[in-house]
Symmetry: C2
Subunit: 311 residues, 2 copies
């Protein structure tokens, strides 16, 4: 990592949903304006009610806008559900919880995409309307849907597996279909980065879709990259990750198992207290449970200091 | 008109928005099940928030479902506007008033159209979910947008002229673009009809779009057709019709001016008390102000009796 001062440090964070969004929020507060770019998974994106839904982009955007509830971490705090109630009443698909205020995001996005705007442009406009100034870049402008292949051979769009099927069917494989092209904005951000942070997101369904895009892994290999474990004390803070590790890689869920998954990409790694192990790179062992806004910024500062110590 | 009993009378009503919807509601109650088909203008259809909005189809559907407020006649009675409030907060286009419950119609329609369903099929499914059993047929499955050419030469999509510009710019011409093909369902309904009713809708923007579709005028000429004046005492019950008559045809707004517009199509005509004139066909002069549900069915019964007397 370059010896630049914190004020001109250029940081890129790769992230999925809630865990990633919280670290990005911490980094956003810990870093001076203009230093952070978030590259966000769009493998979860899907069509619902005729709209393009981008669950991870929205979670990051709402978190940076200060609109997310601390639990469950997604959606808009205090949102109402009048549209959903009417959908239920009429027998319309109601398995995906769309709030009334949240809907404006999806409606605006659908309208703008229909007019021919790119997802990158749409995301920038949505962020601007919510007062979010740090750039949030979708990993790609083209669809790259994540498919869950279950042990019984069924293929499910990710959100259908996660939400509709409650992540119950055992996973045999996670497949990334569609484009393998990222955007120029993503490549430029990676190229300009002094530090890349792999956020505490699900590697299979949130980070791998980004890493496997053309040019991304190469950029990561040529830049100081630190990871943050999404597994704390053998458990995922949220979501189906712990089960997936054993189902897909046959490993017990641990911070180390995640580091193994990212083999060859990391120069440093942050784990929760008690999760330390002897790795091939320096390990920061600290409080990485960052549900509250205060914990987020405290950990982000520690992570930046730790990263500055890496060569 | 055939001498069939009221119970096996087959009636087709051509309609636009609120006025047409009210007469259809009256006919719906006055006729036995299975006798009424509504053919509804889709010239007002437009894209908003990335959704396909069908104002007239929805007004007829909500009216038959008993969901419309008596005033203003469109939308869902008691609907909330949480989505619209958020749109306003974010600076998203908010000139078209979409309620939260109403939105489910547009979202369902957008989803189904995106899956490849026809507008006819979508409309049938939306009606079924709201318990509306009488067939409501869109005049066409393909776009046929109504464009208002203003006196200053500006061209506006109809709803933008009507709602956004508050019908203020003077009209030079009403243009019907897009398809001139109706659907097989419409042609079959017209062919099976013993009686066609031209509802008290705006002829320029609600009825002409239907009449000028291939095969419709011919079907009307070969079947007993009665019109109902949308002008009462020189005024339109609702909307910009009175002004349009003078702007487009240079005539004072009157029941007779409307009948002249439909020259050659009518075998009978219903006008409000005091609006009678010596026409080339029998005229029913009665109370045609049908805002209340009771007035609608009383007038519908009178109109059916009157139509049965025509040869």
């Amino acid at each position: 990592m370059t010896e630049s001062s914190q004020s001109d440090l250029s940081v890129v964070a790769l992230a999925g949903g809630v865990g990633g969004a919280r670290l990005i929020d911490g980094l956003d507060r810990a870093l001076p304006p203009g230093s952070l770019t978030a590259i966000v998974n769009t493998g979860d994106d899907f069509q619902h009610w005729g709209l393009h839904i981008s669950p991870d982009l929205d979670t990051v955007m709402y978190t940076l806008a200060g609109l997310s509830p601390e639990a469950p971490g997604w959606g808009i705090d205090g949102d109402t559900f009048h549209v959903l109630a009417e959908a239920k009443r009429r027998g319309v698909d109601d398995w995906f919880q769309l709030g009334d205020r949240d809907l404006v995001t999806h409606l605006s996005r659908a309208g703008a995409l229909a007019r021919g705007d790119s997802l990158t442009r749409v995301t920038a406009d949505l962020c601007e309307a919510l007062g979010v100034e740090r750039p949030i870049l979708p990993m790609s402008d083209a669809p790259r849907p994540t498919t869950i292949v279950t042990r019984s051979g069924e293929e499910l769009v990710f959100q259908e597996w996660l939400v509709k099927a409650r992540a119950a069917p055992a996973v045999r494989e996670v497949r990334h279909d569609g484009t393998d092209q990222t955007t120029q904005a993503v490549l430029d951000a990676l190229k300009a980065a002094d530090l890349i942070v792999i956020c505490p997101s699900n590697p299979y369904v949130s980070i791998d879709p980004i890493l496997t895009l053309g040019g991304v892994s190469d950029a990561i290999r040529s830049t100081t990259t630190v990871g943050v474990s999404p597994i704390l004390g053998g458990k995922a803070v949220k979501g189906p990750l712990a089960t997936m590790i054993s189902q897909i890689d046959g490993l017990a869920p641990s911070a180390e198992a995640i580091a193994t998954h990212y083999e060859g990409l990391l120069e440093g790694y942050a784990v929760h207290r008690g999760d330390g192990f002897a790795g091939p790179f320096p390990i920061l062992e600290t409080n990485i449970l960052i549900q509250s806004k205060e914990d987020r910024v405290v950990f982000a500062r520690e992570l930046i200091e730790f990263s500055r110590s890496l060569r």
